[in-house]
Amino acid sequence: MSIDATSRPALDDDRLRGLLRAVTTRLMEKRSAAIADVPEWERLRDRARAIKRDALGSLGRHLVEFEYHVTASGGTVHWAADAGEACRVVEKIAADNRVRGVVKSKSMMSEEIGLNTFLEQAGLKVVETDFGEYIIQVAGERPSHIIAPAIHKSRADVGRLFTEKFGAAYTEEPDELAARARDVLRDEFCNARMGITGANFGVAATGTIVIVENEGNARMCTTLPPVHVALMGIEKVVPAIEDLAVFLTLLARNATGQAMTSYVSFITGPRRRGDRSGPEQLHVVLIDNGRTRMLADPVLRDVLACIRCGACQNTCPVYRNIGGHSYGGVYAGPIGSLLGPGLEPRTSPPDLPFVSTLCGACAEVCPVKIDIPNALLYLRQAAMAGRTLKRLPHRRAQRLGLRAWALTMAGPRRYAVASRALRLVLRAFTRGGRVPRLPAPLDGWTQVRDFPMPARQMFRQMIERGPNGRRE
């Protein structure tokens, strides 16, 4: 099913669209205000891009170094080639430690590998502790935005949900709803034997994982339970601790307009001897799941630089209208249109790279300067050449059509003949000075707008005859 079809429900949902527009507009305004404080912003973007490129270019070495230092600080590194393996690794750690309940902080990687479902099927209780993720877990839905996963739910929605779930009196005050979640989740933090988080960055030189957040739930997950498991895509490794200066300066400002999020945790190993709190075990699961395949691709490897700030989503005029669920995968918006085909080629909608006007707004805001429109064009080429895992519907017909078009356009006489034919057809479809319906395959145009009726003469005919025309 094309995204034209799957996005219609979202487009018909005025309320959702209103919320999405309001939220993305607000986040972009805050972003603009925050970056105004950083006159060296453009140079920082260049630097961030350079660091990521270098890191990816020597990724093998950095991963081995990272593993060494995590191990030296008392942690354990696991390697998983794919989603299934990553899930099994986590399950085994849970089984080895008699874990029955797990608390999780927000992790796109955990969504990517389908961890929650896997663990629940293995009989474990999984509790999302990020407020937005908690809301949608209770509602049984998927996140619709990378930074604000429950953005599609109004306060009334959440109020009703919590009353149903907890039975307490109805309130739709965000303060009170957050307080309710805080109370419930505090018990969960204290009782769970395992905390699962993602990792925003991994530092090779020190074996440190870096987690960025505002609520404090990641700190809870990484401090209270005796076992901490951090899921990390292999592309998240950066060489040195100093590199974080660039990324931390760019990340929060780009994502939410904050100079810094409330908490940034630099975690190196489990608790040390003599520490009075902290987990006894730290496990870092390094996950491939399609990343080495992207790394091997000359264009897609740059996409691995993504630091998941969400700014491309917020600025994308397509995303703002159709929302995250329409992208048919874990990642949405412009970066989702690249990570989907890159990481989930079997399930990502094959027309995803075409759901863009290539306007370039995303590339302007990307902190690591990923050339998203160029990568989309590249994926379009792959799709039209039949090189993708999932077939693009009507590919051959489209290709033939464009071939015929190119043939026509490459010869002025053919162009003249075809233009005359086109005008005859258009005249046949003209009603009352306009063309309200075009025949297939162009009927998509007239679904929402008229087509102009053909002018009496083409420009090239006028220039030869009109009073202003001059002969060549």
Binding site: R47, R155, A181, V246, A259
Partner: protein, 240 residues
């Protein structure tokens, strides 16, 4: 597939992907110098921390710091405060806090706040329990970052991890001389700092905890502390 072979497979995949690539063009783009600002670091820190909803006090000495901390605890009627070692001992000497507070004439009848406990006195594992039951937690900050109003807590043997996380009120003690301009300076300092090497958790804290997950409406105090107080000792006078 066994884990050893997964490691091999993943690393082999990475190696293959990077094989034959030319060395990356050019060196790193150098870090741009920070814009020269005439504002004193402390003032910048205060402005940025307050913009992130932290309450900041600047005092001229450690005794005054203790006095102001006592006032904060009394005003919030905190029933129990847990204190990490570095705050308990010199130079902050929070071990003197309750005694000094009670000895002030205006506080004779009542202290206004409950027990102030050194987390060192809690047996293993029960610092967490103590922190859970406390209305306030007090820790030192190893550094302050001026351009974001951030404090850096290096938790470790001296505690600091749960004290700064579980109680609803977090008091952070910072010396003005430990405030650096920005992230590059901070990370360079941290890299060479023995406290970083010994710490399993270094936390950057900017204001209290927050969420905006419902309609982007800001709510302060979710899982982490609802209030953050930063007390700065600066040679040169008190403020706020």
């Amino acid at each position: 597939m066994g884990e050893e072979s997964s490691r091999d497979a993943v690393l082999a995949g990475v190696r293959r992907a990077n094989a034959g690539r030319p060395a990356e063009e050019g060196g790193r783009v150098p870090w741009p110098p920070p814009p020269q600002s005439g504002i004193a670091l402390v003032d910048l820190f205060v402005a940025r921390a307050e913009a992130a909803q932290a309450c900041v006090l600047v005092v001229s000495g450690f005794a005054e710091a203790r006095q102001r901390v006592a006032d904060i605890l009394a005003k919030a009627a905190v029933s129990q405060t847990v204190v990490s070692d570095d705050a308990w001992c010199s130079p902050w000497d929070m071990s003197q806090l309750s005694q000094e507070h009670r000895s002030r004439p205006e506080n004779h009848s009542r202290s206004g706040f409950g027990d102030v406990i050194a987390s060192a006195t809690c047996g293993g594992g029960s610092v967490t329990r103590m922190a859970k039951a406390s209305g306030a937690g007090m820790t030192c900050a190893a550094y302050g970052i001026a351009d974001s109003g951030t404090i850096v807590v290096c938790s470790g043997e001296a505690g600091g991890r749960v004290e700064s996380l579980l109680p609803p009120l977090h008091l952070a003690l910072l010396q003005a001389t430990d405030i650096v301009p920005g992230l590059p300076e901070l990370l360079a300092a941290l890299h060479g700092d023995a406290r970083f090497e010994k710490s399993s958790a270094v936390t950057f804290i900017t204001g209290p905890s927050r969420t905006a997950d419902i309609e982007l409406t800001l709510t302060i105090g979710v899982h982490g502390p609802k209030q953050l107080f930063v007390v700065i000792v600066a040679q040169g006078g008190s403020r706020a």
